[in-house]
Amino acid sequence: MRIIISNSSQEPIYKQITSQIKKMIMTGELNPGDSLPSIRNLARELHISVITTKRAFEDLEREGLVETVAGKGSFVSQYNREIIKEKKMEMIEEKLANIVQESKSLGISPQVLQEMIKLLYEEG
């Protein structure tokens, strides 16, 4: 497990932690049921405040990515992949809606748009 904190970043430290743990869950580096370090231990290792670490974990819990069992510590949630996928889908839908909206205002036909997406897919 790897977490790197930048003190010069404009991004708050708790967000740096959540985004890095999130990424590890999404890429499968962390699996459902895997245990996470304790809040205090992580704070000590990273030389950051306990409250900051706590806040990062609370955010992850709220998003359903992490579960905390009293006395046992925090774990990666069981159904997190589904949740993430669902969330990602929602995000993509939202972005696509924007694109469609803009395309409409410019008079771009659905066929042209599809063609563009296809090209981009092949490029990537």
Binding site: N7, Q10, P12, I13, Y14, R40, N41, A43, R44, H47, I48, S49, V50, I51, T52, R55
Partner: protein
């Protein structure tokens, strides 16, 4: 079960030139608090009042839920202290000084003490007067950590310490609060790496509390603001603290960045502040006022 390790309420102390005015703050167990402010702000006075080294003129202090005067001895069994200056006997060696202090504490552990001496590279037979300032602080810290204390109070502990040991202290203090039952209060007039691990920051200036909050919320609400001088109308000025104007523009700090953003529309730079920025601009603001 008492949740606050320390609770200071309406604390008052007057000297001829200085008054500590109705200071209130508290520290929950399991956390580390940085006590910041410029020289002469009242930090040492507050710490001396907590330790009952000087007499308060008003207010209350409770430590572990107990009155700091009535239950003084019981409280002090559980406090480890580190002062900014050496008050140990110069004439004695480290081991001799330990021999004097140890019998006062029920929870004293020679094993712990010897381990800290080794970790801190302190030669046990060396005389206290032969120790450098940093080594004296280390010795003080070793004593503070060797009697199973639940609350560590440090007055300007980092003065004289090299960066390497300061980083070690971070580990030591973070380890100290691992079990969620203990707490640390340290004062400092310069912001150092020690603030990295602080959960709460209590900031006093001129004997008055500026704020006592979680470090995260302070750093979130405060911001460093920079822009051209033409932007400084009365409305903007009111939202800013410690404005420093130069020939090319201004710099200041705001304590409510959200409000400032929503009210202010224009070409301005808003940056994440450091605690030092906040301290510097607030002190300047109070001097200009």
């Amino acid at each position: 079960m008492e949740n606050n390790i320390l609770e200071v309420k309406d604390l008052k102390k007057s000297y001829k030139e200085f008054t500590l005015n109705n200071l209130s703050f508290k520290l929950e167990k399991g956390y580390i608090m940085g006590f910041i402010g410029p020289n002469g702000a009242g930090k040492s006075t507050t710490i001396k009042l907590i330790m009952n080294l000087i007499n308060r003129d008003g207010g209350e202090i409770s430590v572990f839920g107990l009155d700091n005067i009535k239950d003084e001895r019981c409280i002090k069994q559980r406090i480890g202290f580190v002062y900014d200056e050496n008050h140990f006997y110069d004439e004695l060696s480290i081991t001799e000084m330990k021999g004097i202090i140890a019998p006062f504490y029920k929870g004293w552990s020679d094993k712990d003490f010897e381990r800290y001496l080794k970790d801190f590279d302190l030669p046990p037979r060396k005389k206290i007067k032969e120790l450098s300032k940093g080594m004296k602080t280390k010795f003080s810290l070793a004593v503070a950590l060797s009697h199973d204390a639940d609350f560590i109070i440090m007055d300007e502990p980092t003065s004289g310490l090299d960066p390497v040991f300061r980083s070690e202290i971070l580990d030591i203090l973070a380890s100290f609060i691992q079990d969620e039952k203990k707490a640390v209060l340290f004062s400092t007039h310069i912001t150092t790496d020690l603030e990295k691990i602080a959960d709460y920051i209590t900031f006093i200036n001129n004997g008055e509390l500026v704020f006592s909050e979680t470090k995260d919320s302070i750093l979130e609400n405060y911001a460093l603001v920079k822009g051209g001088k033409e932007l400084l109308d009365d409305g903007v000025r009111r939202e800013l603290v410690g404005i420093r104007e130069n020939n090319y523009g201004f710099e200041a700090v705001t304590s409510d960045v959200k409000k400032f953003r929503s009210q202010f529309k224009g070409d301005i730079i808003i940056e994440k502040p450091t605690l030092e920025d906040i301290m510097l601009y607030t002190v300047r603001g109070s001097k200009n006022a």
